[in-house]
């Protein structure tokens, strides 16, 4: 197959996914919504199938497709679900699927940290809010998506740009022999000074890399979070000041 044909099929399946998402989120009849969900999943899976699959033995392949499919499917269901609580739960499942993929890439700390932060803390707060707002029944604005076309076009463009970037990157930089290696562009980043040892496979190496190679980035992110935390405390209502 020629290069342009592959490109066409890739973006074609992405477009099918986008149309499916639109059908699934817009207020139509039930049959169309189901059809849209299937179309969206099929389009996304077809787009993913364009890329070379996972290496390794059968177990590895089965696990990869299991995690990838569950992450994608729960992502679609999260967007299309009409019940806010179910949407939050599908988001949790999508996070867990992604974490499974992290685990398979020998990044257990990333997986555990993502579970703690996203599935553990953030979604619980979501559920908290949802439960306070939704004790009985659903309101009208839960039934329909707001500006579905705009969001679908925006996300379609982002996904296409990401995939295009991947292709360019794959061509320019051949797959590294051992562990993830940094490309030349990443090395030119002023905030990162990659060491000779680019292999990040254990917690110790990860810590050394984070607090050695990327110290400035980590510190800037930490300061940003601290400022945000202080801001959140400052704008929170207080009984003593009569703002509650």
């Amino acid at each position: 197959m020629s290069d342009s044909a592959v490109q066409g099929m890739l973006y074609g399946s992405l477009a099918a996914g986008a149309v499916g998402m639109w059908l699934a989120t817009s207020p139509r009849t039930g049959a169309l919504r189901v059809l849209g969900s299937f179309l969206a999943s099929a389009g996304l899976i077809a787009a993913v199938a364009m890329f070379s699959g996972p290496g390794g033995d059968v177990t590895n392949k089965i696990l990869f497709w299991m995690f990838a499919a569950s992450a994608l499917l729960s992502g679609v269901l999260m967007v299309t679900s009409r019940e806010p609580v179910y949407a939050a739960l599908w988001f949790a499942l999508a996070t867990l699927g992604t974490c499974g993929l992290f685990m398979m890439q020998a990044a257990p700390f990333l997986a555990a940290a993502t579970i703690i932060v996203y599935a553990g803390a953030i979604i619980v707060t979501f559920l908290f809010v949802i439960m306070l707002a939704q004790q009985q029944g659903r309101s009208f604005y839960d039934y329909r998506a707001r500006t579905p076309i705009m969001s679908i076009v925006a996300s379609w463009l982002m996904l296409a740009a990401l995939l295009w970037n991947f292709q360019v990157w794959q061509k320019s930089a051949p797959a590294p022999e051992t562990g993830p290696a940094l490309t030349a562009e990443a090395a030119a980043n002023p905030f990162s000074q990659p060491s000779e040892l680019n292999k990040v496979d254990s917690l110790r190496a990860l810590g050394l890399s984070l607090f050695g190679d990327y110290l400035y980035a980590v510190e800037i992110a930490g300061t940003l979070l601290l400022v945000a935390g202080i801001g959140a405390i400052a704008i929170a209502p207080r009984r003593a000041e009569g703002t509650i």
């Binding site: 700390f109 579970i115 703690i116 553990g120 803390a121 619980v124 707060t125 559920l127 908290f128 439960m131």
Partner: protein, 400 residues
């Protein structure tokens, strides 16, 4: 079956898979059996502390009570409220049990890395997990889903209030729980639970982390009790205010699943307390790395299990010793006491390690921090009481 077929099947089963299956069956089977008798023990202990007799009808001294309880759980009518969200109502107890059981996968429940253990016994389901402690925190942070969803799906105001309390409580106490262990991670420069266990066991009695990290031990134990929703922190299910909290609408086996999840959490917590702070299978003269006689591993296993049993009994005794907290007291304890204390403890460990001081300093530092915290909190309370308006002033204020 023709000859050789069985051999071929065994060829496809790697040795590791067999060992893992043995570990899982041993852990889960023992856990379920032990939990049913722990419940009996808890009822007996409660009765003893309240000067009652406790369950004594089924079998001599009531020792067959767990079987009667099990039969009751299975045979009772299974009620699902009419307006409940059925899918989530059914899923919630399962999620609760699954997550707490999953956390046990990286906890060593016997002597690991010891000579003489038969090849098919491994005493840990998932060995060599580099991020052991973080994995446990990640998985147990999902346990709150069971409580939240159970409370929400029941469509009952008491259940909803209970689950709201539970989510606030669990999120608050996760922070001191994680930070109290960071000191040990720094001292042992690893997060792998097996390695922490081996470090203490081979280091001798005075290398138990309890001696260098007593404050962290207290914070860890307190936060873990709060995470497991045990008294004095069981505000999500307190009977006087919320009927049964998040499990008000649950009956029969689904209630039993919630209960199993809670007890599994207690057992995991007890194992972690022993492994992180009290030397694991090590005990002076009885079980040391030098004891290499045949069957030494059985003694080590028994030492570990005895320690764990003592922690569980302590948790049960605390239940009838300390009264339940009020909810704002619970939040204050976490945010104003435990989190600053665990931060200070971590800072002390970092300072000692950075400047290469003697790590025995950490014991006195911990005690000093605890005393300072006590002085501050008592001083604040005194000042508040001194400035509290008297009833006469208040009534005057109300009249004018």
């Amino acid at each position: 079956m023709p000859d050789g077929r069985m051999d071929k099947i065994f060829e496809y089963i790697p040795e590791n898979l067999l060992i893992t299956l043995v570990a899982i069956v041993a852990a889960v089977g023992a856990m379920l059996g032990v939990i049913s008798y722990l419940i009996l023990l808890e009822r007996k202990l409660s009765a003893w502390m309240q000067d009652r007799r406790g369950p004594n009808r089924v079998g001599p001294m009531g020792i067959f009570q767990p079987f009667a309880d099990g039969a009751k759980f299975l045979l009772k009518e299974d009620v699902i409220p009419a307006n409940a969200d059925k899918v989530l109502f059914l899923a919630a107890p399962g999620i609760g049990l699954l997550t707490t059981m999953l956390a046990f996968a990286v906890v060593p429940y016997g002597p690991v890395g010891v000579e003489g253990v038969p090849w098919f016994l491994r005493f840990i389901i998932a060995p060599g997990v580099d991020i052991g402690i973080v994995f446990i925190f990640a998985v147990t942070s999902l346990a709150v889903y069971g409580v939240i969803l159970g409370g929400w799906a029941s469509n009952n105001k008491y259940s909803a209030l209970g689950s709201l309390r539970a989510s606030a409580q669990v999120i608050s106490y996760e922070i001191p729980l994680g930070m109290s262990v960071l000191g040990i991670a720094l001292l042992g420069s690893t997060l792998d639970i097996e390695k922490i266990l081996t470090q203490q066991a081979t280091g001798g009695f005075w290398n138990w982390y309890f001696w260098t990290q007593p404050l962290a031990c207290l914070i860890f134990f307190t936060s873990a009790m709060a995470e497991a929703n045990r008294l004095p922190f069981d505000l999500s299910e307190c009977e006087q205010e919320l009927v049964g909290g998040f499990h008000t609408e649950y009956s029969a086996m689904k209630f039993a699943l919630f209960f199993l999840g809670e007890y599994t959490h207690v057992i995991t917590t007890s194992f972690l307390t022993v492994i992180l702070f009290f030397g694991g299978w090590h005990f002076p003269w009885i079980a040391t790395p030098e004891s290499t006689y045949t069957g030494a591993w059985i003694v080590m296993l028994l030492v570990l299990l005895t320690k764990v049993f003592m922690v569980i009994v302590l948790i049960m005794l605390l239940r009838w010793t300390i009264p339940r907290f009020r909810f704002d007291q619970l939040m204050n304890l976490s945010w104003k006491a435990l989190i600053p204390l665990s931060l200070a403890n971590m800072l002390a460990v970092m300072t000692v390690l950075q400047f290469g001081w003697d790590r025995w300093l950490l014991g006195p530092i911990s005690i000093g921090l605890f005393v300072i915290a006590g002085v501050i909190s008592v001083g604040f309370k005194r000042a508040e009481i001194r400035h509290r308006p008297s009833a006469v002033e208040l009534s005057h204020h109300l009249v004018t």
